[in-house]
């Protein structure tokens, strides 16, 4: 079929679609790097301004497309990920308005805009994104309504505000259906295809730790995870959240080997009853999980490694909730296998000769490992100071730190301590994770932020096994538990702002719980509340069908109701009046004129015949004889008609 050219777009519809597109782009604009967002906005603004009067030349559009695509790719260092793809979509969306001339263009822009909303959810699932996305989607649909009017040339028939109100009404009607879909539509137990990675790594503990790396991390207050304890919680100074156990040292940084993942967890003897808790981990795009020292078993979908670090089988791309049991150890791997011992003593040759000399001197003076540990801690306590403004270290980082700078933070302390222990012949390793946390009294849960990141050491002592040693605590215990202390009064020091922040985080926690955490497992437990146990997807489909069918019927009734201009109040009062007479079997016949009716029924009423006649006469004259009757007389008549009550019984 020959396609008729799409009608041209009028200027106000164009503005309207542009506004909708911008509203839809906003959630994504807030999620991509700020400089990229600013550049895209500026480029799109210039492009729209250039193309406003007449379509931009295609060469220019071509050039702009290439430039923007190149820009986005370079922003993500030419790596493909879901953030790269989302940014590309955003760039296209920002660029599309340049060729906004016909109705077709406008409609594809609206479609793109809706897609951009979903792309935003791939990057962030927070309540703010949804709160921005909902009105944006309403905006997009309102511009659909405007385009539908523009198509038939009936723009003048409704105002934009009326359209927005109509969309709001439709949304309100659609909300129950949407919730039915959300709760009852059969969920996938396991995804059909994996979530693409992100190209730009998130801030968070990485799989390598070298002194000086964590400066950004330690000043980042975004949440890492939230914890809710089931029952009593351990003392605050033992809240060490174990993450990665790092065995390998390359002279500069520590890394985690792969071999512990393939071995059974080391033996441990708990010192007390384990505590139970639930961790809700923010997406990290990495494999490792965090658990309180020491985890007793691995949650579903994760592995407990030989060194009791946890690794998830899939990298954590969306919010992950897992339940854990942990207990402080009385003994932890008391029998160290020779191979493991060798790894825990391995040092790269040719690094840090002064430290090695010091360790050997200590070793020659005593054979007691514990004494050497105590001596090292005493040295830290006396001569070292804590500061985030630590000077950078050169090749022999441990030497320089221990003998020259003597100032640093957890990375420096744990790295140098572990090296020193290994040099003295004591098996040692670095553990990274988080320490402490902030208790949200409103929601009664613990919030652990990225800035709570910490690194400490474990040394192996005969008879006792692995033992946690935190050299940072030896230098500045208040710095380790700085947050815990600060946090006792709340982040804002117990002020109103602090309480508000608490409430905000509590809402976020609830959102994580109720919205983000809903999956096929929760869906099944939802149905079991209605007596359907272990429902399969067929049962769910039936439940979904029944619920949506019922809701559609109810909503349909709502849509069916009359919504035209209201009937004349005088007529309504009159039909009420005749209705009352009909109750005593004096029904007005459909074809009967008002006055004839009154004359017929008046003689049948013993007491009120006169009233009925008088009222009917007034009604007839108001309705048919005097259309210009003033409002006061009119409302008096309406009042009289409404006030009429049957007091006597009909004679026959």
């Amino acid at each position: 079929m020959a396609r008729t050219p799409s009608p041209a777009l009028d200027r106000r519809s164009r503005t309207w679609c542009l506004a909708a597109a911008f509203a839809c782009a906003l959630p994504l604009l807030l999620l991509v790097p700020h400089w990229l967002a600013a550049t895209l906005l500026a480029a799109s603004g210039i492009g729209i301004a250039l193309a406003w009067k007449r379509p931009a030349p295609s060469a220019l559009r071509f050039l702009l497309t290439f430039a923007l695509v190149g820009l986005v790719f370079s922003a993500y260092s030419f790596r493909l990920g879901r953030d790269t793809a989302s940014s590309l979509l955003l760039a296209m969306l920002m660029f599309k308005p340049i060729e906004l001339n016909t109705l077709r263009d406008a409609r594809s822009l609206v479609g793109f805009s809706l897609f951009a909303l979903f792309a935003a959810f791939l990057l962030d699932q927070g309540p703010l994104t949804l709160a921005l996305a909902l009105p944006a989607a309403g905006f997009a649909f309102a511009s659909c309504a405007r385009l539908a009017d523009a198509e038939v040339g009936a723009i003048g028939l409704a105002t934009n505000w009326k359209r927005i109100a109509a969309i709001g009404g439709l949304f309100a009607l659609a909300a129950p259906l949407a919730l039915a879909g959300f709760w009852l539509f059969p969920r996938l137990g396991s995804p059909l295809w994996g979530v693409p990675d992100v190209a730009r790594a998130k801030v968070g503990i990485s799989d390598r730790m070298a002194p000086g790396d964590w400066i950004d991390l330690l000043s980042d207050d975004t949440p890492a995870f939230r914890v809710r304890f089931d029952g009593p919680m351990p003392p605050q100074d033992s809240l060490y959240w174990r993450g990665l156990v790092m065995w390998n040292f390359d002279g500069r940084g520590w890394t985690q080997p792969a071999w512990p993942l393939g071995m059974r967890p080391a033996a441990q003897v708990p010192a007390s009853r384990p505590v139970r808790y639930e961790v809700t981990l923010e997406p990290t795009d990495r494999h490792y999980l965090f658990a309180l020292d020491l985890p007793q078993d691995a949650p579903e979908g994760a592995i407990l490694a030989q060194d009791l670090s946890l690794a998830a089988q899939e990298s954590v791309k969306s919010l992950l909730t897992y339940t854990m049991r942990s207990a402080a150890p009385a003994r932890f791997e008391p029998d160290l296998a020779p191979g493991v011992r060798a790894v825990a003593l391995r040092l790269p040759p040719g690094f840090n000769p002064r430290t090695i000399a010091l360790a050997q001197r200590w070793r020659s003076e005593t054979n007691d490992d514990a004494a050497i540990v105590r001596r090292a801690l005493a040295m830290y306590h006396e001569k070292f100071s804590y500061s985030l403004a630590a000077p950078p270290l050169g090749r022999d980082s441990v030497d320089e730190f221990l003998f020259d700078t003597k100032i640093g933070y957890c990375e420096h302390f744990s790295s140098s301590f572990t090296f020193l222990m290994r040099a003295a012949g004591i098996p040692a390793r670095v553990v990274t994770g988080y320490v402490g946390g902030y208790r949200n009294t409103i929601g009664d849960y613990w919030l652990v932020r990225q800035s709570d990141a910490h690194a400490w050491s474990e040394v192996w002592l005969p008879g006792r096994g692995w033992m946690r040693v935190d050299p940072t605590a030896a230098v500045a215990p208040e710095r380790v538990f700085r947050r815990a202390a600060d946090n006792a009064a709340g982040p804002g020091g117990g002020t109103t702002l602090g309480k508000l922040l608490d409430v905000g985080d509590w809402i976020r926690h609830g959102w994580n719980d109720f919205v983000l955490g809903f999956n096929s497992v929760r869906q099944q437990s939802l149905l079991s509340a209605f007596g359907v146990h272990n429902p399969d997807s067929g049962d769910l489909a039936i439940a979904f069908g029944v619920a949506t069918g019922l809701l559609l019927a109810i909503v349909g009734l709502f849509q069916l109701r009359d919504r035209g201009p209201r009937r004349d109040p005088l007529l309504r009062a009159w039909s009420r009046f005749t209705g009352r007479l009909a109750r005593v079997h004096l029904r007005k016949l459909p074809h009967e004129p008002a006055l004839a009716y009154a004359r017929r029924v008046a003689p049948l009423l013993s007491l009120q015949g006169e009233d009925v006649l008088a009222l009917s006469q007034r009604f007839v004259s108001a309705r048919y004889a005097r259309p210009d009757m003033d409002d006061q007389a009119r409302s008096a008549l309406i009042k009289a008609l409404r006030a009429f009550r049957i007091r006597d019984r009909a004679r026959s």
Binding site: A137, F141, A175, L177, F182, P565
Partner: protein
Amino acid sequence: MISAAQGFAATWRRRALGFTRPRRVEALPVALDRRRIYVLPTRFGLFIAALLGTMLVGALNYNNNPALLLGFLLAATAQLSLHATHLALSGIRLRDARAVPVYAGDDSILELRFDALRARPRPGLVLACGAARTVFSLPGADDVQVELSLATTRRGWLLPGRLTLSTTQPLGLARAWSYFWPDLRLLVYPALEIHAPPLPTHEGTGDRMRVRAQGEEPHHLRDYRVGDPPRQVAWKASARTGKLLVREYEAHSDRDIRLDWNTLASLPYEARISRLARWVVEADRANARYALVLPGQLLGPAQGHAHRHACLQALALLPHG
């Protein structure tokens, strides 16, 4: 290839039209109910459906709950907008339809009166008949008069056939349409000849003409037409206005004007009809009594609006040559 496809599509459209209601002409008033309202997604609606489908599958796969929530909300809204599209037509009633006869070539204005059984704001209704379309809205249950101008090309009965009432409200995702098939025959008079000679007041000569010219009052002036006798030209008035004007005389004569088909044998068939139609109009304007002689029928002599209509109708309904 393309034309074959077009032909195929046209055939199918015709066949589909055979299944749709109403299947025959119906008496007014007619109200639209669910049995005769058809709803199908528009191209844009299909696009949005594909988009929402993709997004929902993606959201389900990633168990991305906010996206799922938004996706279901949009899908439910789109679904409800289909209902709204249906309801925008449901209950509309066509009360009556009429049109004043026009001359072929002019637009026939079809006047239709709509109201609604259920009061509901119904904007953006499109009424179409062939290529003619008009947009209106029914704000409540009250009467609304809609005019549809239909192009006419030939004299005789114009059968508008089925009228399509459609809307894509509220979102343009779906188009609901329904057909009215009122029993409607619009009369189209023949086109009037533009430069027709003056009325054949008598089949006589110049003498009689003069007698008549002397005996009657000049009625008014009109533009000169080819064939007007020079003595009728109003020279003074022509000089004043700059164009040739001719005096016309009121026919007070008892003599009837006889407009005879047979006197125009030299003209082609349709041209005869055009000229006679013009003469009928002229004679009526001159308030004359006139008779129209057509093959096999004689109208009049008479005068007045009804006679004029009868004559023009007779001319309009002459068989097409």
